[in-house]
């Protein structure tokens, strides 16, 4: 569905992505893990058209979407739950959802239906529908950001660090939501620092390190991988070093 072939991107003068390849098949949940500064966010920005691609191709459903503007990439069917949520804090919760469905604005019946579905999934958002989105708690804002992306009826949902800055209990809740989305058969690209949680709910995973893909494989396999365990899970590091 989504295929990146050896892409190179510069972030300012920094060569942030050095020939990264990745693919996501329909119905799959794919995790992308890596430390701070590994290039995860640059990769997301590149797919979504916010950063210019230097070399390589980004193919989505057989079309090369490299060079498309962010506005057009949403219309192709890729919706983003951005890092740090980025909801419209001075608009009401309801208006945020309507903006999520902006590209389908000519189909008001579909929009009303999607809105209803979102409110069924997250009753708290219905309760707060007339409140300014900036007054929601962090977890509620994340639910709103996810809902806003769903309103675009994406074929591929990209989630950039959905657990960032949230309390442990709320993170659990967010991962539960992602698991549910996966079980509905959605195609998800999940970018996370929380490697264990991300790999546990993913079919496959990629590990990005300083702009290069260093590992890839099935989620369960990566969880057991020595290198991943040492670098990202912090588990049994001592045993591995001593072995």
């Amino acid at each position: 569905m989504l295929t990146l072939k050896s892409i190179h991107t510069y972030y300012g003068s920094i060569h942030a992505l050095k020939g990264v390849s990745l693919h996501v098949r329909p119905g799959e949940t794919v995790a992308l893990i890596g430390a701070n500064g590994a290039g995860k966010s640059t990769l997301v920005s590149t797919i979504c058209g916010l950063v210019k691609l230097h070399k390589g191709t980004v193919e989505f459903q057989g079309r090369n979407i490299a060079g498309f503007s962010p506005e057009d990439i949403v219309r192709e069917g890729i919706a983003l739950v951005p890092e740090g949520r980025q909801i419209f804090s001075t608009l009401t919760v309801e208006a945020n959802l309507q903006m999520g469905g902006f590209i389908h604005r000519h189909n008001s019946r579909q929009m009303a239906q999607d809105m209803k579905r979102v409110y069924e999934r997250f009753p708290i958002l219905r309760q707060r529908s007339q409140q300014l989105a900036g007054t929601l708690s962090g977890g509620e804002q994340q639910m709103l950001a996810i809902s806003r992306a769903l309103m675009a009826r994406p074929k591929l949902l990209i989630m950039d660090e959905p657990s960032m800055g949230l309390a442990p209990l709320v993170i659990k809740e967010i991962f539960k939501i992602i698991r549910e989305l996966r079980e509905e058969g959605r195609t998800i690209l999940l970018i996370e620092q929380n490697a264990r949680a991300a790999l546990q709910i993913s079919d496959r995973g990629y590990v990005l390190e300083t702009g290069k893909m260093v590992l890839q494989g099935e989620g369960a396999m990566l969880l057991e991988h020595r290198e991943v365990k040492r670098a990202y899970l912090g588990k049994g590091a001592k045993q591995i070093w001593e072995a």
Binding site: P70, Q86, I103
Partner: protein, 300 residues
């Protein structure tokens, strides 16, 4: 007899205060539209009012258009000026900070004023009222028919804008652009189009105010700056970005000015707006009608 005279004065000052206040309200609304979408304070807003009046003079006086044709032709011309301002200046500076963009609007206001001086000269111009008729006398105070037009135009604009921004998806999309431009792009809103629309819309509204007020108070090339400043006072007083607040604050400001001119001295008239602006900024920076909650969530 004396008491009757006092009541008449009061009524007369109220009427003229509301009329000029409606114009301040429209200028304030012009600020709010651009502010709502871009967080830019467009200090060329007063020049749009001036240009509206002078273009109407050109269409009616020189080209002999009928009055309503001249009204709409002037609005279209100024809307084009707003279009050009966004398309050829603001858009090219889009990587600049909001503060730099605000300074750019000051530059544009100076250019517009200079151009108007070259085009129309330094003399004030007048226009006939939209509809002929002698002033209506209410309790001894004279109400010009044109004052009713000014109020009518303002109310129509306020109502339609409030509906547009709070009930239409395009209106909300414009607000979303102001709130978070990159998130707005990610949901598929074409931000540049919305910014362009905001400049065109507020230029058109400024022009409408300019055409409506010219029959009452005349128009000349350098009226823009003061109108712009007072309109900004009204916008701040009403809470930046709040249309209803801008409307009420504009009327209040007009009334305050008119009473000051009538009961104190007309020399202090222009200071009223500035004093009110200072008081608001000191004591209630979110404005009389702005919500403190929303103000906290905004950057400016």
């Amino acid at each position: 007899m004396d008491e009757f005279g006092l009541g008449t004065d009061l009524l007369q000052y109220t009427v003229s205060g509301l009329t000029i206040g409606a114009i301040y309200a429209l200028v304030a609304i012009g600020y709010n539209i651009i502010y709502n979408v871009t967080e830019i304070i467009n200090f060329a807003q007063g020049e749009f009012v001036m240009l509206g009046g002078l273009f109407a003079v050109f269409f009616m006086g020189t080209l002999h258009f009928p009055v309503f044709a001249a009204f709409f032709a002037a609005i279209v011309m100024v809307a084009l000026a707003g279009f050009a301002m966004e398309r050829f200046v603001v858009r090219r500076a889009r990587h600049a900070s909001v503060l730099s963009l605000i300074i750019i609007t000051i530059a544009i206001s100076i250019i517009l004023k200079g151009t108007a001086m070259l085009g129309w000269g330094k003399d004030p111009y007048s226009l006939p009222a939209f509809t002929a008729g002698s002033p209506i006398l209410i309790g001894g105070a004279a109400l010009q028919i044109q004052a009713l037009w000014v109020l009518g135009v303002s109310i129509a604009i306020v109502v339609s804008l409030t509906l547009f921004f709070h009930h239409s998806l395009y209106g909300k999309a414009m607000l979303a652009c102001a709130d978070n431009p990159s998130a707005a792009r990610m949901v598929g809103i074409r931000v540049r189009q919305m910014v362009l629309l905001s400049f065109v819309l507020s230029a058109a509204i400024g022009a409408a105010a300019g055409v409506a007020i010219t029959p009452i108070s005349l128009m000349e090339y350098d009226r823009g700056a003061l109108l712009g400043l007072k309109g900004f006072g009204a916008a701040a007083l009403g809470g930046l970005g709040n249309f209803y607040g801008a409307f009420v604050a504009g009327l209040l400001l007009g009334l305050a000015e008119s009473f000051c001119a009538g009961y104190l001295s007309s020399g202090y008239k222009d200071a009223v707006a500035l004093i009110l602006l200072l008081l608001v900024l000191f004591f209630k920076p979110e404005g009389l009608f702005g919500s403190a909650e929303a103000a906290k969530l905004k950057r400016f």
